[in-house]
């Protein structure tokens, strides 16, 4: 693959609000034409990072480079980036046409060209005939399209999107995910997308940047992030995972849950303590005699596509996703293939995430809701 230049680089960025560290020596390079997602919980610094790129915030220290040129201190209106705001921030006193034309008007583009380009944009986002409509009377999805048209008409080199789908209902959100991805492909420009929704991040992005506590935890393709999380935080945050305390007696062997497993990982010191991740869908439930581990089913939840089964093995509650039905109280065996095991180095997050003993859907949904409101 040929070398693609970095369009945006953040070097050693620190940011604080009222003495509280929000970004902690953040380094990030974004390649031209990529769909990059900054993913993390609220307060992880993802929106702050986006606002630093847009120019609404100036970092306490560190450099922001655009096309290898430093742009610290350049005001937002002079940066070749445009933003889609979380609640769209459409101008309520202008109609659809005037909202989209806003950027061109400010640049004193001739009226005939404005008309042509606005109409082209309206076709692009499928809103022909909406020119004269008041933006306050549009549905969420339509407002979203106006916001996209209003930003994209300025031909930015980078489009910044701050949780643009969070205000839409589920069905519309899924449609818009596909549409945004298509728009990005058609335009061929860089998208930097901020979300706390991991599914959104995995399905849309070329590159996912997982952030926590003002630091980058992992950068990679969605598949890398899911299959090879770098630490317990990423493993826990992306998808479901059973995270176990283990050691690597030697290459290709991992010891956890009182058993030696064959695995594909190597390069650890002999008997190095590690964190082991096993995804719930990678565990097979088998008769006890064939199982590597043995435990009792303590909870079964039907999810439609599969059952979510919690199996207690010596006090550690495993989550297993399977299409076969089992019942609470069944004693079952677990079988794990070598490629289902992912070994990670110990990190500051070791031990913070583990089994599903405190597993509760309601709680999880509640905390997600409050997170949404916070940001």
């Amino acid at each position: 693959m040929s070398e693609i230049k970095n369009i945006i680089e953040l070097k050693d960025i620190c940011m604080e609000f009222d003495g509280e560290m929000v970004l902690d020596h953040l380094n990030l390079a974004i390649k031209d034409g990529e769909f990059v997602t900054l993913l993390g919980r609220s307060g992880c610094g993802k929106t702050t990072t986006l606002r630093i790129i847009a120019g609404f915030l100036n970092p306490v220290s560190g450099q922001v480079l655009f096309d290898s040129k430093e742009i610290n201190g350049v005001p937002p209106y002079q940066r070749p980036v445009n933003t889609i705001f979380q609640r769209y921030a459409l101008f309520p006193h202008y109609n659809v046409y005037e909202n989209i034309a806003f950027g061109l008007r400010l640049r004193k583009v001739p009226e005939a060209e404005i008309k042509e380009r606005v109409e082209e944009m309206l076709r692009f986002v499928n809103l022909q005939g909406f020119e004269k409509r008041s933006v306050t009377h549009l549905s969420g999805g339509q407002q979203q399209r106006v916001a996209i048209a209003r930003a994209v008409i300025n031909k930015p080199k980078v489009l910044l999107l701050d949780e643009p789908l969070s205000a839409l209902d589920l069905q519309l959100r899924k449609d818009m995910q596909v549409e945004l991805k298509n728009i990005q492909k058609k335009l061929g420009i860089t998208f930097i997308y901020v979300t706390h929704d991991q599914e959104e991040a995995l399905s849309m992005s070329d590159t996912v940047v997982v952030m926590n506590e003002g630091k980058v935890q992992q950068i990679g393709t969605p598949i890398e992030i899911y299959n090879e999380p770098q630490n317990a935080f990423v493993a826990d945050f992306i998808g479901e995972s059973n995270i176990l305390d283990g050691v690597m007696p030697c290459d290709f062997t991992a010891r956890f849950a009182g058993h030696d497993f064959d695995c594909l990982d190597k390069g650890f010191a002999p008997n190095e303590p590690v964190d082991v991740v096993v995804r719930p869908e990678d565990v097979d439930i088998v008769p006890v005699v064939r199982g590597m581990l043995k435990g009792e089913v303590t909870s079964v939840t039907f999810r439609g596509v599969h059952f979510e089964i919690i199996v207690d093995i010596d006090g550690f509650k495993w989550m297993i996703q399977t299409t076969d039905e089992h019942h609470v109280g069944d004693v079952v065996g677990l079988y794990i293939e070598p490629d289902a095991i992912h070994v990670m180095k110990k990190s500051q997050y070791s031990g913070k995430y583990g089994d599903y003993s405190s597993y509760s859907d309601e709680l999880e949904q509640l905390s997600e809701l409050t997170e949404d409101e916070e940001e």
């Binding site: 209106y77 101008f91 005037e98 806003f102 400010l106 004269k132 008041s134």
Partner: protein, 277 residues
């Protein structure tokens, strides 16, 4: 069920309707009745015809009220803008400072200004110490307009501030993001969105200014007669309720028309999309 609910609604509305009838509608009818009758109660247009003699007074009142409104606007708009940009604590502090004079009665405030502006008042004493003056300030148009501006300034600041502090900051960021520098933001976003506040501020300053009689009496030194003074004199001194009522009626109609025109202006701007030129 439905009937009970509407019955309850009638009950809830009743005090307000009664209040409105007794204290708004009835007085209005009384004013209209007096305006079109003579002292004996017979219908006449004489009062209305006599208004022609007060053309000059009307004109001066409108002029002073317009000037006072314009000056309050020029002071209030930037003040409200900067106030809305401050931290919450500072905003509260500034709000307190704006409201503080209003805790005192209008009469007392105006009396204080008399003391300040008088021939032997504070300003002239200070000027005297520097070997200047004395300047005649009481009895000038400037003093009357100053009195109006001082007394009614909070009524301009408050509605503008309220609406400005409600402008979503992300709109300003969006404008910034799309290429608008500070002045462009003010012109294309803040100004049109704050217009309803400006309109109600203008109404709240212009209406009391055009009908005031106390400020003009005290600071005008008896030399400046505004429409309010004329009404007061007709009713209090000349006991000509009929002419007083006729002048009030015309003033009221004038104010209503100005309000209607201004509201129209605000609506138009809201709907038409307003081109950026």
């Amino acid at each position: 069920m439905k009937q009970r609910r509407s019955y309850a609604q009638v009950l809830i509305n009743a005090p307000y309707l009664l209040w409105a009838a007794i204290f708004i509608l009835v007085p209005l009818f009384i004013v209209a009745y007096y305006a079109f009758t003579d002292a004996s109660g017979a219908f006449t247009m004489a009062n209305i015809k006599e208004l022609a003699n007060y053309k000059q007074t009307f004109w001066i009142s409108i002029k002073y009220a317009l000037i006072a409104t314009a000056i309050t606007f020029v002071i209030a708009y930037p003040f409200a803008y900067f106030m809305s940009k401050k931290s919450a604590a500072k905003q509260q502090m500034m709000m307190l400072l704006v409201m503080l004079p209003m805790w005192m009665n209008l009469l007392i405030r105006t009396y204080s200004w008399m003391n300040i502006l008088e021939r032997n008042g504070i300003i002239n004493n200070l000027l005297g110490m520097m070997g200047l003056g004395p300047w005649k300030m009481i009895g000038t148009a400037g003093a009357v307009i100053l009195g109006m501006v001082y007394n009614y300034l909070p009524y301009m600041i408050l509605p503008i501030y309220t609406i400005m502090s409600k402008i979503d900051n992300s709109l300003l960021e969006a404008a910034d993001d799309l290429g608008a520098h500070s002045f462009a933001k003010l012109r294309h976003i803040i100004w049109p969105l704050s217009l309803p506040g400006v309109i109600s501020g203008i109404a709240m300053v212009f209406v009391p200014s055009i009908s005031t009689f106390y400020i003009s009496q005290k600071l005008g030194g008896g030399k400046i007669m505004l429409i309010g003074d004329t009404i007061e004199r007709q009713i209090q001194t000349a006991y000509n309720y009929n002419l007083g009522a006729a002048i009030s009626l015309v003033l009221m109609v004038f104010v209503l028309i100005s309000m209607a025109v201004m509201n129209r202006f605000a609506d138009d701007d809201g709907e038409g999309g307003g081109m950026i030129v």
